[in-house]
Symmetry: C2
Subunit: 309 residues, 2 copies
């Protein structure tokens, strides 16, 4: 891993950075209003500079060619000052400036809803800027009723081949794994449930369902809190409580469903501690945010070895 | 989960869709070249229509106002035809059309490098279009030498507090978990290693290091293939082979590192089968792509219950 690409270290610097006034080089000639010669930028501790176009009222009346001259002068100055990267944050209604930036080498880093962010590496060698989100995360819920040995399964509507699978779907932004599983199961089947453990993780690349990005799919073990099925007609063709041994045997299911059914069968017979990853919440060291950690159950004697978690 | 948001089902439809000629309503008046009145769109099986501006040579000479009239007419027609969504794929050098689309309600879905994609929901009720990638994925490698009971740890440079941790970093686009772990360990420390198992998964939201997106961090158990440390001076302050029992005890480490050190200690004493998630590769049912599945080791007798995996 290269310096600037350290997980999580680059953009946090943007938050820490102070704002500085940056004159965009010598005042440009015709076409630019008098007061558009200043681009207010923010330095970060990695030697980059970030410009939020929304904060530049003087740019409002500027045409694309004048903006290009302004940006070109700014780039010249930033290079002379040894800046290693430039970031442009562009509100969607100011997108007419994007092609100008692109003609100077800027490319999209990402865009979401009302704005886009462009980047240009100014330092030596290849860019060391970190990329954007690379994965979508989906979660399925294996709702297993230990007393009846039945598990909740669905068949999707609109599939080329009808196969039994666990209900599930994509995480909403900012949603925890267990919460996605419980929500998706309820939305698809009407069954209420509680998170028990994480069972399995699938990683897949280039899935056509992920806009060219990668896909991480997690399967959770859930405990049912209600049993009446009221399934989503738009999404599901069938939904039922199926005997777990049957699901582990039948052909019209996906390989991942069959594998997890057998894992559940093993857990049911030998103890769920054989298959579960338990979950615990921790405070993050630097940010004070909380995160969730999933791994095999650790005996109490190992938790208390010394120090505090 | 709602119909269109089914994990992975929407965009695959775009690939399956045939292309159809769509007239953008009545020929618009002044400002638009004669042949710009046709937008070539692709229908998908969910009732959406997708337009690739790069394929419309007639748009090249068009100004933003004329494009807006063209798009407005097209939207009117698509609505009358019952289309539920519109997608615009915009090359970066045609970004001057974006503000026009935004003024008609389009918003960024995503952007990457040379192009952006905008969406507008045309159907009833709130949008049921799937979002874009929500997570970055990082991987750390816990390289443990069973014979000496030592584990490879680093201290990051440029951190406010120096703490021992496992080497690791962000996955490159399309990179498997184990490959990221092995690559990051080598880049940071110069030590070669092989993937053995997945040990733990951390999920965190709103991390400042993820441009507002979520973060999934996985820790793998790796087997060392070489032992000489040649660490990256740009990234690491220190790097050493540390006694595992010491790492499980000391204070200047992160909670996740200490927890995984204790998990490793448990595995070392009681057998790694107590802590490991094993990995296996499967072919995907619909796409023919391969994916990797991680879960607890399943005894042979359960793998062979019936049917084939």
């Amino acid at each position: 891993m290269r310096w600037l690409k350290s997980a999580g270290c680059w953009p946090s610097a943007l938050l820490l950075a102070g704002r500085v006034g940056l004159r965009a080089g010598p005042r440009t000639a015709s076409g630019s209003p008098r007061d558009a010669g200043e681009l207010q930028g923010e330095l970060d501790r990695f030697g980059g500079v970030s410009v939020h176009l929304a904060r530049h009222r003087a740019l409002h009346g500027l045409d694309a060619a004048a903006f290009r001259r302004l940006l070109q002068a700014a780039l010249q100055q930033w290079r002379s000052e040894g800046r290693v990267a430039a970031w442009l944050h562009v509100p969607i209604l100011q997108s007419h400036f994007i092609a100008s930036a692109a003609s100077l080498g800027f490319r999209f880093h990402h865009a979401d809803s009302h704005s886009s962010t462009l980047t240009l590496w100014l330092g030596d060698g290849p860019s060391r800027l970190p990329g954007y989100a690379t994965h979508q995360v989906g979660v399925a819920g294996a709702v297993f009723d230990d007393s009846t040995r039945k598990v909740l399964v669905v068949q999707d509507r609109n599939k080329l081949k009808n196969m039994w699978k666990f209900p599930g779907g994509l995480s909403e932004p900012g949603e925890d794994i267990g919460d996605t599983a419980v929500r998706e199961v309820f939305e698809e089947t009407g069954v209420k449930s509680e998170f028990r453990s994480l069972l399995s993780i699938r990683q897949q690349h280039g899935s056509p369902g992920a806009f060219g990005k990668s896909d991480m799919y997690l399967i959770c073990r859930l405990q049912p809190c209600s049993f009446t099925i009221n399934f989503c007609q738009q999404e599901c063709l069938k939904c039922e409580w199926m005997d777990l041994e049957k699901l582990a045997r039948i052909d019209n299911t996906t390989p991942i469903t069959r594998r997890v059914a057998r894992l559940l069968l093993y857990g049911h017979r030998e103890g769920f501690d054989k298959i579960d990853l338990s979950m615990e919440e921790f405070p993050a060291v630097y940010t004070g945010l909380f995160y969730k950690l999933y791994h095999r159950e650790l005996p109490e004697s190992y938790r208390d070895t010394a120090g505090t978690d």
